[in-house]
Structures are given as structure tokens and as C-alpha cells.
Amino acid sequence: MCLAIPARIVQLDGDHAIADAMGNRWPIRTTLTPEVRLGDLVLVHAGYSISTVEEEEAKETWELLKQIQTPADKIPSGFEDLPMGGGA
């Protein structure tokens, strides 16, 4: 429930943003990280960015997420409800 995923801010209007992780885009709020700018990489949890993150760290996590993208009947437990929308 406390898993945050890295994503890039691809649109930003006030504290409303669109985040992109591996081509998946969804609306987030940047209220908790007022310092972020367009193009920054952030960790997103439950629809909110909670910190900025380095490129290398983000790439490592995305790589890990790709590895666990398996067919639906073999989705690894614990990640099957991985929140592309922010999750819980």
C-alpha cells in the first residue's frame, strides 16, 4: 500500500499535473512537492508526488516493473493491483 512509483511530470498547471511512467499517463497532484517543475521525475503515491527522484533510480524501478509485467493469469502477487493511478 505504501509503494510509490517514479514518473515524469509532462504537464503542470499549478499543483495539477500529468505524470508519465513507461508511457502510462495519469493526472496527479504536486501539492506535497511544491518545488517540482515540468520535466522533473517524481515518486507518485496515491495520486500525489511525494518527492523528486533521480533519473537512475527511476530507470531501475521502471526496469523492475517491466520484469514483473507477465500475462494476466500469472501476474505476480502484491503487484497485481499496482496503482498506475496512484493506488493506495
Binding site: C2, P34, I50, P76
Partner: protein
């Protein structure tokens, strides 16, 4: 610093040899629990090293009384429940939101969605099930702020937020604990900062090491713990410095302080934990579903035979529960640790409960 696989194992073996006794390390994050099982880490650990899965899944530690309150609220035709998906399967005394087939429940992926739900349904009162640790609680604070700004009078929360450090203190303060060190949660620590664990180290003398969720980060954290135990120099350390700072996210912390106050709330299996839960400050009472609907907190009854409480405290491994994998499984869960995908029982069930490491 993240180590490579060989170095991590070599160091763990070396330091475990120096320690010269079995050690037990508790991970206090459900995401760690799952990643540890998925990565097969348990099977590779030195024989003297045992991992305990602690109360790190917010769904698992949500007291049955909370679900009972939710089930009471949904009886009202004017109420719409907004919840993270994890909560709909958690059993109360009479069933779960899912098994009871309750329709006035909307799954949301963020607290902001719950506020929007209230905007779109002005004739309903939206009750947001605000559960989760410090990672999730700031988002609830933002939702309250948003509801204030929009002057929404049909939005409130049922506050079930919990704090990680008081739970760690409670576990170490217990008579029978078996914990030599903590592997601390990565993303909770993004918010609270690694310095938040200093009082735990100072009071109890146990290492507190923050790690990320990738298997190598976890192993690096475990190697750091072994080194500290071998050197008998417990301290706060982070192998997740890329995102965890000593101070944490001040904006989020300020929001938590502004909207919430800690109190001695109920945790499933652990009872009341001193300053372990959050509730809305009195000035935000209008957003508190308990106050709004005049509900008192009554401790829930434990499920007969369910040993989730002992699992959450690291006192037993899930297979030691007589119901585990027999009557209690992910399809028909009895206890909360089997309900949540990040629960210890669910992880043990899915990743081979026969692969226990020796104690």
C-alpha cells in the same frame, strides 16, 4: 549504498558469523514483505538470519471495529463510501463491503478522487476511508484542505491513519518480542525522514535501516543491519538515499501537523498503541465522520482462531496458524493478513509457505 548480490551475501554471512547467535530482523512494510518473497530472499539468507513480517500493511492493522463502523455507515441511504481498493475485502464482524455486495461504495485511487466524487454527488455525503501510514495521510490532509477551499459540506473522512514509529516502539516495549533490528519502510521514510527512527535506536538499541523495494536494495539494507549487529553499534542508516533524506518531506509533515493529531488508537492484533494513530484536530470536526454521525470507537472482537495479531507482532509465522491455507486463503480470507496482497499470510501463501527459513 546498494551492494551487488555477491557482496551483500558475503557480508551477511561474514557478519552473521561474527554475531554468533541467531538474529531476527523485522520488516515493517508490506511492500518489503512482498518484494522479499518475490525475490526469493528468504530462501537465500544465512541460516542464523530470520526475517519477521511486522505490522507494515495498513489494511492488516485496521481494527475490525473500523470496518464495523463502515458497515454501519453504508446502511444510510444518503452515504457514499469512497475507498482505496484494498479495503473492500477486509472483514468486519458481519462480512466485508465486497461479500455484502454493498453498492454505495466507490473505489478511488486518490483522496482527490473522493473530493471530486463529493462535488459530483451533492445530494450524497461522501465518506472517504482514510487509511494508510504516513505515505497516505498527507494526501488525506490535502483532500480536507480542498474540501475546505470548495466549501463542500458533503465530504468527510473516517480516519484510520496510523504511524509507523509508535508501532515499532510498542513492539519493542512488549514483553515477548524477538526483534533484533528493523528494516524500515522506504516510502514512509520519504515523508517522515530517516531521523524519525533515531528515538527508537536511542531507546532500545536496535539498528533501524531504511531500504528501497528492489531486491538488491533490501539485501543491502539487511547486510547493513548485520554489520551493525556484529559491531554492536546500532544506528539509523539508509541505503535508499536517492529519495530518503534525514528530514523527510517537510511540506507533507506540516500538513499532517496542521490537520491531524496523534492519539492512542486501536490496531488490529496490537491493541491500543500510544500515540500510534491519527485523528482530525477538533477544528476540523465537521470533516470527521465519527463526530458527524455520532459514532463511538468500540474495540472489535477478534475472529475466533485467527492469529493475525501474533503474525503482525512477529511472534509466529503464518503457517503456525491452524487456519492458514486450510480454511483461510486468499480466495476466502478469514484474517486481514490474508486479505491484503501485502499481508504476511497472503505473501506466505502465494510464494510457498513450505520455504520457511529456520528460526
Amino acid at each position: 549504498m546498494t551492494l551487488d548480490l555477491q557482496t551483500a551475501f558475503a557480508r551477511m554471512n561474514e557478519y552473521c558469523g561474527k554475531i554468533g547467535r541467531p538474529i531476527q530482523v523485522m520488516e515493517v512494510c508490506g511492500t518489503h514483505t512482498v518484494s522479499i518473497f518475490r525475490g526469493g530472499i528468504r530462501t537465500l539468507l544465512p541460516t542464523a538470519f530470520k526475517l519477521l513480517s511486522g505490522p507494515g500493511c495498513p489494511v492488516c492493522v485496521t481494527d475490525q471495529s473500523y470496518i464495523d463502523v463502515v458497515l454501519k455507515l453504508v446502511q444510510r441511504p444518503d452515504i457514499l463510501i469512497a475507498t482505496y481498493g484494498d479495503m473492500i475485502r477486509v472483514p468486519g464482524s458481519a462480512g466485508s463491503l465486497e461479500t455484502l455486495g454493498i453498492r454505495s461504495v466507490q473505489v478511488v485511487v486518490s483522496s482527490d478522487d473522493a473530493v471530486q466524487l463529493a462535488r459530483k454527488n451533492p445530494k450524497k455525503i461522501v465518506v472517504f476511508l482514510a487509511v494508510g501510514f504516513e505515505t497516505t495521510a498527507p494526501a488525506t490532509a490535502v483532500a480536507i484542505a480542498e474540501a475546505e477551499r470548495l466549501e463542500l459540506d458533503n465530504f468527510c473522512i473516517l480516519c484510520g491513519h496510523k504511524l509507523v514509529v509508535p508501532a515499532m516502539n510498542a513492539l519493542l516495549g512488549g514483553m515477548n518480542h524477538r526483534i533484533d533490528a528493523f528494516l524500515c519502510p522506504g516510502h514512509v521514510s520519504v515523508i517522515i525522514g530517516s531521523d524519525a527512527y533515531r528515538p527508537v535506536v536511542e531507546r532500545f538499541g536496535v539498528p533501524c535501516v531504511v531500504a528501497g523495494f528492489e531486491p538488491l536494495q533490501i539485501l543491502s539494507g539487511l547486510a547493513e543491519i548485520c554489520q551493525q549487529l556484529a559491531d554492536k553499534r546500532p544506528r539509523v542508516a539508509s541505503v535508499y538515499q536517492a529519495v530518503v533524506t534525514p528530514q523527510g518531506n517537510r511540506t507533507a509533515q506540516n500538513l499532517l501537523t496542521q490537520y491531524f493529531e496523534p492519539y492512542d488508537g486501536l490496531w488490529r492484533g496490537l491493541g491500543r498503541i500510544s500515540m500510534g494513530s491519527l485523528r482530525l484536530r477538533s477544528e476540523f470536526r465537521e470533516y470527521d465522520a465519527m463526530a458527524r454521525f455520532g459514532i463511538e470507537e468500540v474495540p472489535g472482537k477478534e475472529m475466533p482462531g485467527c492469529r493475525c495479531g501474533q503474525v503482525l507482532c512477529g511472534l509466529i509465522d503464518p503457517p503456525e496458524c491452524a487456519m492458514f491455507a486450510k480454511v483461510c486463503n486468499p480466495d476466502t480470507p478469514i484474517g486481514p493478513c490474508m486479505v491484503s496482497s501485502e499481508g504476511a499470510c497472503s505473501a506466505w501463501y502465494k510464494y510457498g509457505h513450505s520455504r520457511s527459513n529456520p528460526s
